[in-house]
Amino acid sequence: MNRQRKPYVRPKYWNQPRMGWYEKAYVFEVLRGLAITGGVFMRNMAKWISGRKGALTTYYPEETRPDYAPANRGRHILTQRPDGRPQCIACNMCATVCPAQVIEIDAAFDPDDAAHPKYPSRFEIDYSRCVFCGLCVEACPEDAIRMVRQTPDFPGSDRHHMWSFKEELLNWQPAKDVAKPYPVAGDGSSGDKP
């Protein structure tokens, strides 16, 4: 038989762990490991007992992180004219551009408002599907929809409760930065004069 099998040679690696008697004795290294984890335990325990939080975790619905970026794309708001009507003209551009198709708008006719007769009678956003891309804000020709820093805060056990309706979207009351003044009806101007 010329089928001589070569003996198996265990390959040597450059980072082969080298263990001396100290490491091979298990006990000392095990004690060192236990001291590390036990130290972390004791430190966190002392923090909890003295009323501080021993973890970085945020209890989400009860607590929100204070360190969102100023430009964070959080929940949507609908801007308002000075008289409180939505600035939205129900053009459906945001609903069209929305990649997740979460915006639902019903347009209605308002004969009292000659400058903006078309307004949304229903404006709803489904936050269970919203991807917070901000395309609706960019698509809006009237600056009627914006996103604010605060998160929508819709934790719940039911996806049907994750809709935001027109009333909620409209309840942003800006002290300044009113988007556009309301044009005087019938003067023919486009409304961009102050």
Partner: protein, 378 residues
Amino acid sequence: MMQDLAISMLYIVYAMGMLLTVGALLTWVERKQAALMSDRIGANRAYVRIPFTQVKLIWLGLFHGMADGLKLLLKEDFKPKAYDRLAYSLGVWLAFVPVMLVFAVIPFGGTLDPGRLLPPLAEWFGGRTYPMQIAPINAGLLVVFAFGGISIIGAMLAGWSSDNKFSLLGALRAGAQLVSYDVVLGLTVLGLVLVYGTVDLVGMVQAQSGMLFGFLPAWGIVYQPFAALLFLTAAIAENKRIPFDLPEAESELISGYFTEYSGMKQGMFMLAEFIQIAIIAALFVTLFLGGYNLPWMDDRGFSLPGGQTIELAHGWVVLLQVLTFLGKVFVVCSLQILVRWSLPRFRWDQLLAFAWRFLLPLAIANLVVTAIAAWALG
């Protein structure tokens, strides 16, 4: 005798209540301690709402154990198609009951004198005293090992009868591991038997009540520090928890010998594991940490080194002893949980090599040294 029966029933009720409560509580302790060790918060969402109000009691997540139990009770009792009916149902009980039975011989307090505790019943008891131990057997240590052996059968029956290759592998591993570590466990304890000259656990604890050189408590861990280390290692291996959890290795064997058990049957295996943490802690406390003894304490009260004595009423002494025992048990339980969440797992060959080529020679060496010392010191 009615009196003996009454006291035994009292002890049994205490032991059952204590073990089941501790077993349930340890699931919470394990979660919370693991969370604290890794900078997390731990389970804290389960709550009990007070009826007709919106007050939700969370209590640091204590109700998660109840939620788990409820879930396990309400789950479908799924059984494998081809299984040995008798062995399948017997396996659960053989894994669970011996663990509880071990506590029968562990003394959880000093001597109870019911006549002094309850003067109206003094006549009925007639001055009888009882050691706080369910079964006053003078071969207590042997009983511990006997019941430890039965739980091996439980694991093997469970694995074999559920007709699943993972279960069978887990059972084989459980058998090999438990037998190996039982040898080490027995040999480490023999050193203590040489030191105290008895296998009666009450006698062992009473022998640990004094002081050594006036400042060291005469506990087993002082006489046999090495044996204490080996005992704890082997006992954690007996419990099949993480550094030694090869029989139920989740990554390889799903959950080992109880893969095919579901619902509360699986819960019984888990509960047995948690109760065994407490049992191991109780054994370790009894053998090495002086049981219910505190330094300078005896059955009458404290006798401090300055010649000062503090007399305590019998009721307070009993309460103090029981609480001391429980406190020590909790500390050792916490140590076991610390080990479980710190150390990585052994490989299977390493596990057996560790038992036979590392722990066993050390245990024998410890025994030999102890025997020579006991012979030399007379």
